[in-house]
Amino acid sequence: MKNRYATQLLFELSKPGTAEEIFPDCDVPEDPPESFLPKELLAPEPPPLPELSEPEVIRHFINLSQRNMSVDTHFYPLGSCTMKYNPKRNDRAANLPGFVNLHPYQPAATVQGLLECLHTLEGMLAEIAGMDAVTLQPAAGAQGELTALLMAAAYFRDRREHRTNVLIPDAAHGTNPASAAMAGFHAVEVRSDPRGMVDLEDLAAKLDARTAVFMITNPNTLGLFDVNIRRVADMVHAAGGLVYLDGANMNAVLGIVRPGDCGADMMHFNPHKTFSGPHGGGGPGAGPVAVKRHLADFLPVPRILARQGGFALDYDRPKSIGRMRSFYGNIGVLLRAYAYIRTQGAEGLRLVSERAVLNANYLLQRVRHILPVPHGPRCMHEFVASAMKWKAARNVSAMDVAKRLLDYGFHAPTVYFPLIVRDALMVEPTETETKETLDSFAEALFRITEEPEELLHEAPHTTPISRPDEVRAARNPILKWTPNTDSA
């Protein structure tokens, strides 16, 4: 299905004089801006934005939407991203006028329902984490990491300890070392052992009086539960450091393992993954941070206080790291997380993780004969297969497999991550997929093994475009439309 509404840009569809009249007439005396504002600051013309009628805008964007795969239209086993079903009831709840139309500087007395909801959410997340205090402020998982690391820096400053290093396993997400650098720390890589766990010898060698924090993702990015977690935490604590748990993979262990019980001092959640907030094409997410009691004083301000007569915002926290962002947090995302946890309850959350792990193990079992899983035979909520043998035998890469899967109507797994598995394909089916969907995905992979190399190298064949030239995009960056932009 092709038409110019999708393939042309807004700027090419623009037709002067066709934009809608949206705003009302002025009901107060109207004077020209020059009577209010200094002439040298006034724009002679409005910005050169495109002009389109409402029907044209709708047709353009709806056609654009149809050029995306999404959870609501396709199986989306993008490893590490937990692309589960996004319940519509959560959207309806979060979009209630009594939530959507709230201004952050309204008097607290006029937002008591919201504050109660957020305060309850903090408590529920603390319970799931096995920790004592929660901030909902961070805007995303990466900002949650940064928040926690800034708290760690403030904690050691408060204790007059000079610690410069953050230790991070080689399997970690790129955000971990990037957050460490942003918080002013030096990132030190710790190896994984052949089983995919943190290499305890390497950890011991790198732990010292300079160690501020050890960041661990558990289950890790190989989809494995690091069974040494307690020992790792003890080692870090013995060296005087703090343990940070990257909660990216909490979907595997809800109600089964609590990071606080494993010795973690702080962690973040990804509510847009674990608690089913939609991913929005790349945000908005949220990154609530849970901490143990000894770190609570350092949480960002404001905190929500429950006191007699109602909820209030507390700014009087002398040891706080300060603010991480304007206002309070990504409320729309947090309300969806609240609605999800209230829907599931304790039993439901546990079942979510059980089924996520069952689905992943079943799919692993179905595909491991096609694509080896080096760290199998079992996994938690996801697994990492390797296309290395295909590469050697037939020159078919992980990317070729990923691209061909698109033709079968499946979003591709995450490819080439984690970095410690060669030709990695990281598959996370989530709990909201049927057995039939998993079977058909496995069958598609099997059929791909029998397809000619040339067909795979040229895949995908049925998508709106074929493989784009990414090198050209980077070498000759065209980052905006101009009147002479090539409209080929």
């Binding site: 040298e40 999404s70 239209t73 079943y362 980052l479």
Partner: protein, 460 residues
């Protein structure tokens, strides 16, 4: 239990295939000392119907700007959101997709980002835009970090008190462990004075941050300020209000090096402060220091125009600790909302909404200072917000309290951020307010003044 589509029979067959007897066996390798033996202490699960009632009862205990008349601003505004914006943003294909890792099945999102970047450069007159950051405050912090990274040896940053206090707080948090000196410039007259600023700019100054219009609503002499910065060899970071671009000169046309902005005004609901949209745009020389995602145009194997994420060697998933920032996501759905808004209102709609804000704010400032005991705090020109001072702190709080009882959110008290402005209130008037509402609040202010002092309640 919800959203689990496996039947009992499916589960049995899956367990058999895996080779275990029970689901619990899949967790048996987890050492008992870290297994949670109990049951999470969470409220009982709710059916969909019960959840809806529960959420409605929570929402009913909030009084939003749909039930009160809001004159609140300070970085979050009640601007009109056309139905088309909500409609497009609720399309599953946008809101349940993710990062365009596979461009062949993400052209909708990628093209939307390329259009967003173009619209932002058009709006602010800049060379390049990224695909979005968290909010205006973090975008400002990232812009300052870019300015520092771009000039070795320069570690001083000038921040005026007329910059949003929360943005200043975020900048301090972000730079707590970075070797940077933040100097605050006083703005006792509500805005910066180029001659005074020039004295503070020196060879060590990496950048000055100028908010336009500033936190007090005043229009800064941004042209002269940018000139002063450049004469001292410093960069100019302008924090701009997107709606004001309907009437004010674009920062890019005045020589700004970096523009940061809060995109909430562009079709994003207030939602008690988030999710919002951080806008970041720059001049060409700073492009490769930009944090976050950027979409670029290229061609596919058949020569068709298409879009991909590009210049990714700046980003955390490639560069790890050497990345320009740790940011991963781009508030994509909010960027799409901003694009739809700008595409729909167009240049003339933007000019219209800016004129409405300007004229209504001007009218309100006059009405609210006429026989109310309130006066304008600053004599600088303003756009859609302004600061009023009462005869005392007590009087300011009392007027706000009375207005609240009468159904108005009559601005934000500034004393929490500015000790010298304990008697001052920041008020915003958008195109959403009408003359009747403005007059009614004027009446409320005037009557409030005549009454004997009521018992004190803290407004916030």
């Amino acid at each position: 239990m919800a959203y689990l589509p496996q039947s009992e029979d499916d589960i049995q067959r899956m367990l058999e295939a895996v080779g275990v007897a029970a689901v619990d066996d899949l967790f048996s390798h987890i050492p008992p000392e870290v297994r949670f033996g109990g049951r999470l202490n969470l409220p009982a699960s709710l059916s969909e119907a019960a959840l809806q009632q529960h959420m409605e009862s929570l929402a009913a205990r909030n009084t939003g700007t749909d039930r009160s008349v809001s004159f609140l601003g300070g970085g979050c505004y009640d601007h009109f959101i056309p139905a088309v914006v909500d409609f497009v943003a609720s399309r599953s294909e946008f809101y349940t997709s993710y990062t365009p890792y596979q461009p062949e099945v993400s052209q909708g999102n990628l093209q939307a980002l390329f259009e967003y970047q173009t619209l932002i450069t058009q709006l602010f007159g800049m060379d390049a835009s990224n695909a979005g950051l968290y909010d205006g405050a973090t975008a400002t912090a990232e812009a300052v970090l870019m300015a520092i990274a771009a000039q070795s040896g320069k570690r001083k940053v000038l921040i005026p008190e007329s910059l949003h206090p929360e943005y200043r707080q975020v900048l301090r948090t972000y730079t707590a462990n970075v070797d940077v000196t933040i100097s605050t410039l006083a703005t006792p007259r509500g805005r910066l004075e180029p001659e005074t600023v020039a004295k503070q700019l020196d060879a060590k100054t990496a950048c000055i941050v100028i908010q336009q219009p500033n936190f007090f609503g005043c229009v800064e002499p941004v042209d002269a300020l940018i000139r002063a910065a450049h004469e001292a060899g410093a960069l100019a970071v302008v924090v701009a209000d997107p709606i004001s671009m309907g009437v004010l000169k674009r920062p890019g046309d005045l020589g700004a090096d970096l523009v940061a902005a809060e995109g909430q005004s562009l079709g994003i609901p207030q939602q008690w402060g988030g999710p919002f949209l951080g806008i970041l745009a720059c001049r060409e020389p700073f492009l490769r220091r930009m944090p976050g995602r950027i979409a670029g145009q290229t061609t596919d194997r058949n020569g068709r125009r298409c879009w991909v994420l590009t210049l990714q060697t700046r980003e955390q998933h490639i560069r790890r600790e050497k990345a320009t920032s740790n940011i991963c996501t781009n508030q994509h759905l909010m960027a799409v909302r901003a694009s739809v808004y700008l595409a729909l209102v167009g240049p003339h709609g933007l000019r219209r909404v800016a004129h409405l804000c300007l004229n209504k704010a001007r009218y309100a400032a006059k009405a609210w200072t006429d026989g109310t005991g309130l006066r304008l705090a600053f004599d600088a020109p303003f756009f859609k917000e302004f600061v009023l001072r009462a005869e005392s702190e007590t009087e300011a709080a009392r007027l706000q309290e009375r207005a609240l009882e009468a159904g108005f959110f009559a601005g934000t008290a500034l004393g929490q951020w500015y000790p010298e402005l304990q008697d001052a209130i920041l008020l915003a008037v958008t195109e959403q307010r009408n003359r009747e509402q403005i007059d009614a609040l004027a009446h409320c202010f005037a009557c409030g003044r005549l009454r004997s002092p009521a018992p004190q309640h803290a407004a916030r």
